[in-house]
């Protein structure tokens, strides 16, 4: 081939290669759009039947074809809330320990263990939660809580082992590695000069962490918490094993409940009625919308943060 023709062929191949990669990249957006459209399309029946009342009704009665999302939304938010209440402080403390206190070898070992915890699949936590941890909750934790804090409606009722509180704790264990890893990265980014100045004016380790590192990394940590929240909202298998799957809203955390994801996992294949199936798809749509909002806010927040930091330099 003459050089000119070779160059032309090369250019044509280049254009097609570029188009191919662009196609694959845009595919991500297409998939996301298709998810939204399919969910809306398949929940139309339920949307038409129940309207906005779907979101505010706590009825869930497949026999009478009555469906409402309230108990699932409530359970999703409560179990995720319990998880974050436990995982965020614990993750913060572990991250501070890893960055500021621990010997580098210890830090590497503990850090590695926490990352392995993140790799274990959801269903394994479910198995452990149902067959091991629920027993501990039933025989030790729940009776103890009932004895000491039983005057609160939160901790009343028979200790069954499974239920909202157990689901929240198992979720906390699942989110912990994520919160720890991101917080550790944020703390590692604090310029050493700042920490050294804090120690130079006589601060103790805790004072330098609280007044310098945490303040410097505050926004990044808040972003991490939001991302962790978004993830915990949609966790399915671990929660399905231990939450008890009841569509009743109960004040007690010992009682069984359900989340959107656990209802889908349990009932989707049993739903033979079109309206039942459509209501479940609408539940999925609600979950999709909630996680989208949380993730978008977190990403925009973290993105602005990175821009501000590069702007400063």
């Amino acid at each position: 081939m003459r050089p000119a023709a070779q160059r032309a062929a090369g250019r044509r191949a280049d254009v097609s290669f570029r188009l191919l990669t662009a196609f694959c990249a845009v595919l991500v957006i297409v998939v996301m759009g298709a998810i939204f459209l399919e969910l809306v399309d398949n929940s139309l029946l339920s949307i038409r039947t129940f309207g906005f009342g779907f979101l505010t009704s706590d009825a869930w009665n497949p026999g009478a074809s009555e469906f409402g999302a309230l108990s699932s939304i409530y359970g999703t938010l409560v179990s995720t809330g319990i998880a974050m209440l436990i995982a965020v402080p614990l993750g913060l403390v572990i991250a501070i320990f890893l960055v500021e206190v621990a010997h580098p070898t210890v830090s590497r070992l503990v850090g590695g263990a926490v990352e392995l915890l993140a790799a274990i699949p959801s269903i394994i936590y479910g198995m452990w939660g149902l067959f091991v941890f629920a027993g501990v909750m039933q025989n030790h934790v729940q009776p103890a809580l009932g004895d000491t804090l039983g005057f609160l409606p939160l901790f009343q009722g028979p200790p069954m082992g499974i239920g909202m509180l157990t689901a929240g704790i198992v979720l906390a264990i699942m989110v912990l590695p994520f919160v720890t890893a991101v917080t550790r990265d944020v703390l590692l980014m604090v310029p050493p000069v700042l920490k050294e100045s804090a120690h130079g004016v006589g601060s103790t380790m805790w004072e330098s962490v609280r007044n310098v590192s945490l303040r410097y990394g505050r926004r990044g940590i808040i972003g991490a918490v939001f991302l962790g929240f978004g993830r915990a909202l949609g966790e399915t298998m671990a929660v399905t094993f231990v939450i008890g799957n009841s569509h009743r809203i109960s004040a007690s955390l010992f009682a069984a409940g359900n989340t959107i994801a656990s209802s889908l996992a349990n009932e989707f294949n049993e739903a033979s009625e079109p309206l039942y199936l459509s209501s479940l798809v609408q539940l999925a749509l609600v979950l999709f919308a909630i996680t989208l909002v949380f993730q978008s806010v977190a990403h925009v927040w973290v993105g602005r943060l990175q821009q501000m930091e590069t702007g400063q330099r």
Partner: protein, 283 residues
Amino acid sequence: MQPRGVAGRQFADQAMRVVMIPAALSGIAILAWILWEVMSRGAAALNWSFFTELPSPPGVEGGGLSNAILGTLLMTLLATAIGAPLGLLAGVFLAEFGPKSRIATAVRFTSNLLMGTPSIIIGVFVYALIVLRTGHFSGWAGAVALAILILPVVLRTTEDMLNLVPDELRESGLALGAPRWRVTLWIIFRAAKTGLVTGVLLAVARVSGETAPLLFTALNSFYWPETLSEPTANLTVTIFNYAMSPYADWQQKAWGASFLITIGVLVVAVLARFSLQRRAAKT
């Protein structure tokens, strides 16, 4: 802040140090606890027939999960074969062709959202997209659902890894007269090989333990996966079904399957970390 005495400040510091150690230990302790339960209960369930035989009917002891092991392997391989090339090419677009363009920004943002989308939603989506249209559950649908989970993970790591390749390599390739696609596939990919493989491994590790996207797509089956166009047995859905059953023998099989999945996922995850560290040590 009120001024405090030295003693009070040091007390606060010591108190925090005392709190930290049990907190950090609790992380390790829980990991050890979970692994111990899975290993001890799982190992007790494993025997030769677990790997070689088909499941026994409900309530009948014995049998194995050979069909589920094969089904999980098949669907994971297929999902990787679909998702990884798409993710690699999409990552090439983000890193090599206009990383600052508006499309690239939109793709990056969307792929972050897709990565954070609950996997059960992907399951419902693929159910509506494929299972409803074809009229039956299938291993193909399961593989597609897993591929959608792989795509954003591979895309992300590919972009990061390609960005680490120095521009001089691209320039020298182009200066020799090689077209862009050749430079990318033969030079840049080779330079970033370890990182790209790691990215795919991480995605496979994430996906091979997934249950939720398979519940409404591949479903499960008691039979040998002769074709992927019918419900296909797999380990994770088997764990779910068996664990919820009243039969002690099935529950024990669920522990055996948990053992296999955990070992598989951890081995792949550790491999990926190891190759990343070796790469970091080299550069």
